[in-house]
């Protein structure tokens, strides 16, 4: 069957992806640079297309707690926001991780700290991959580097969120959210019917029937031994995710002497930088983590074997570099190059940074 092609913004592709993936509810609060998500959804009238609920909440705090309520009933729910708004959601995300609730949270990252800027950045890597809120938990973190992936990662995100009963973060940035590219649109996936939810997700609070005990969605357990067991169960789940759900892409790594490691917008820039370097005879490849948690550490170590240097390229002061160094365990020299404050580095400056740090020094 011929696929439908559209020219869309990343934020719009994510919103269309939500409708097509059979999402039950979107709850959000406006913030630049991701407001197109809710604008697209309200204009598209998904309640007429699929019955999907779209609601503008009074705050990001309310949005994430709406997700908790909806997810607790086994519904496919999502929100989107940008850095300061995501900070406000951390309490709710922690509760959802604790109560083992599936959802998708899209972060179209802008520069910080504080109100920062509305321009793109990648400075929320730590927040997304190391927990973010209180307590011991991790989020599956997917990093799209194209408008197509903004679309595709909705479906992938729900597959993972429901498989592991855990929140999934799609960690995008202002550039991916705002830029327009060609997108391949899938067939509509129907929303899950309530009776199907009852059988597929027996934990969901769909109302107590005589044939089962009551369902309780909670992150609280005041009994230390039981609560430690719950924590151990969560940790076992994260280890399982680290084993089974690593995703990454390699570009021109086969003969590479040097590696760029970059995700999202930075990875796009690095592709051009590779070309510039190779024109000068410097063999560079790109290792692009698609899952930031779980971080593809063994794969990176393997790909980097025999390389002379790794350059982590991030629109931040250097956050992913810490995971790279943990992965490499000192086997290859690894450095960071980044811009902050909403500046997107140019391919030339990234190529020059590589030369500066590894060849000229």
């Amino acid at each position: 069957m011929k696929k439908e092609l559209r020219l869309m913004k990343g934020n719009e592709a994510f919103a269309e992806g939500a409708i097509r993936a059979g999402v039950d509810g979107y709850f959000g609060y406006p913030i630049t640079p991701q407001s197109e998500v809710m604008e697209y959804l309200t204009a598209e009238k998904p309640h007429e297309r699929t019955g999907m609920v779209v609601l503008q909440a009074e705050s990001e705090v309310a949005s994430i707690n709406m997700l908790y309520g909806g997810a607790g009933c086994g519904k496919k729910v999502m929100t989107s926001s940008s850095s300061p708004g995501i900070s406000l959601m951390q309490e709710g995300i922690s509760y959802m991780a604790g109560a083992e609730l599936p959802c998708i949270v899209l972060n179209v990252v802008r520069g910080g700290p504080g109100l920062g800027t509305i321009q793109p950045a990648q400075s929320d890597y730590f927040q997304a991959t190391k927990g973010g809120g209180h307590g011991d938990y991790r989020l599956i973190t997917l990093a799209p580097s194209s408008v197509q992936e903004m679309y595709d990662f909705v479906k992938l995100g729900y597959d993972l969120a429901f498989k592991y009963r855990t929140p999934v973060m799609v960690l995008s940035d202002g550039a991916i959210g705002q830029m327009m590219e060609k997108v391949e649109i899938d067939e509509q996936i129907p929303r899950t019917q309530d009776e199907e939810i009852r059988s597929k997700y027996p934990w969901a609070t769909m109302g107590k029937t005589p044939d089962r005990e009551r369902n309780i969605i909670t992150s609280l357990d005041l009994d230390p031994a039981r609560h430690e067991r719950h924590n151990l169960k969560l940790q076992a789940k994260y280890r399982e995710i680290e084993k089974a759900e690593i995703r990454f892409e390699t570009i021109q790594c086969e003969d590479a002497d040097f590696l760029f490691v970059a995700y999202g917008t930075s990875s796009r820039i690095c592709q051009k930088s590779i070309q510039l370097c190779r024109e000068k005879g410097i063999k560079v490849g790109l290792f692009r983590p698609i899952t930031l948690f779980p971080f593809p550490k063994n794969d990176l170590k393997q790909v980097a074997r025999g390389c002379k240097g790794i350059l982590s390229v991030e629109m931040s002061a250097g956050q992913m570099i810490e995971d790279i160094r943990l992965a490499i365990e000192g086997s290859v020299r690894s450095e960071h190059y980044g811009r902050m404050g909403g500046i997107i580095p140019s391919p030339i400056e990234v190529a020059e940074a590589l030369e500066q740090k590894f060849i000229k020094s």
């Binding site: 009074e58 705050s59 709406m66 309520g69 609070t205």
Partner: protein, 263 residues
């Protein structure tokens, strides 16, 4: 010949005068003796049983003394972050419009940290029921000042009494909510006497029935006591509540059929 009455003569179905509803679990209540929570739990569960809606009811527990409400209510429940119960209820009701959805919240939860969620859920006219327990104090954390603490009232963070110049005025959030077009039924009751229990139960039944009309939020405040937090015996606490709480938080319906009740 002398007749001996044995236990088995008394415990017979025909002699049954009171039975705990099956919608209350057998777990021992964590509330202090004399506290209004237990009674309020029971009448909510009786109402759900009488309406026959257990399989279509979802309740939301707050943070506070009733954080463990799900241990006692034999229905599907979710436990919300502090103050966020109306946000959970909003999503649940919108995604499952045929369900009966209620939140059970204390004064700190609803009228301090959750003010935004409460007011906006009410203002959107969410078709949910909020049961609001107002005892003028943070019970679980050990008796600190609540938004509803009366002027002059002592708490662990107002040891010399609440001084409005320093700590602001007690918040009549129920009256405030009644002003919003999104609320359809607003009532304030108490559970300290059998007559009041019956009135509260009627108000809760009313609130749940009206939810089906989809005309907006239904809201029942229960003015309650906190004998341990107030440092009184249960009897003294009820008496103090009647003398001090009721004049400031008068009982009765505040909004009926979407119209403010004229006093």
């Amino acid at each position: 010949m002398e007749e001996t009455i044995t236990k088995s003569d008394i415990i017979k179905p025909e002699n049954l005068v009171y039975k705990k509803t099956d919608l209350m679990t057998d777990n021992v209540l964590s509330y202090c003796p004399g506290c209004g929570h237990g009674t309020t739990h029971r009448i909510i569960m009786e109402t759900i049983e009488e309406m026959g809606v257990q399989k279509d009811t979802i309740g939301i527990a707050p943070v506070g003394c009733s954080v463990l409400a799900y241990e006692f209510m034999n229905i599907d429940m979710q436990q919300a972050a502090h103050g966020r119960a109306p946000a959970l209820a909003t999503a649940i009701k919108r995604l499952l419009p045929y369900k009966t959805v209620f939140t059970y919240q204390g004064d700190g939860d609803l009228a301090a940290i959750g003010t935004a969620e409460t007011i906006h859920a009410a203002n959107r006219g969410e078709n949910i029921t909020i049961i609001f327990i107002n005892n003028g104090i943070y019970g679980m954390t050990g008796g600190q000042m609540a938004p509803t603490t009366l002027e002059g009232m002592k708490s662990s963070t107002t040891p010399y009494g609440r001084d409005w110049e320093m700590m602001g005025h007690p918040l009549k959030i129920t009256e405030l909510l009644a002003q919003l077009p999104g609320t359809y039924f607003v009532s304030r009751q108490a559970v300290h006497t059998p007559a009041n229990v019956r009135k509260t139960k009627k108000a809760i039944r009313n609130a749940f029935e009206l939810q089906k009309l989809n005309r907006g939020m239904t809201f029942v405040e229960v003015v309650s006591n906190c004998n341990s937090g107030w440092k009184m015996t249960p009897v003294q606490a009820n008496q103090w509540m009647v003398e001090n709480m009721f004049p400031f938080y008068p009982l009765g319906d505040i909004k009926v059929d979407g119209e403010l009740v004229k006093k």
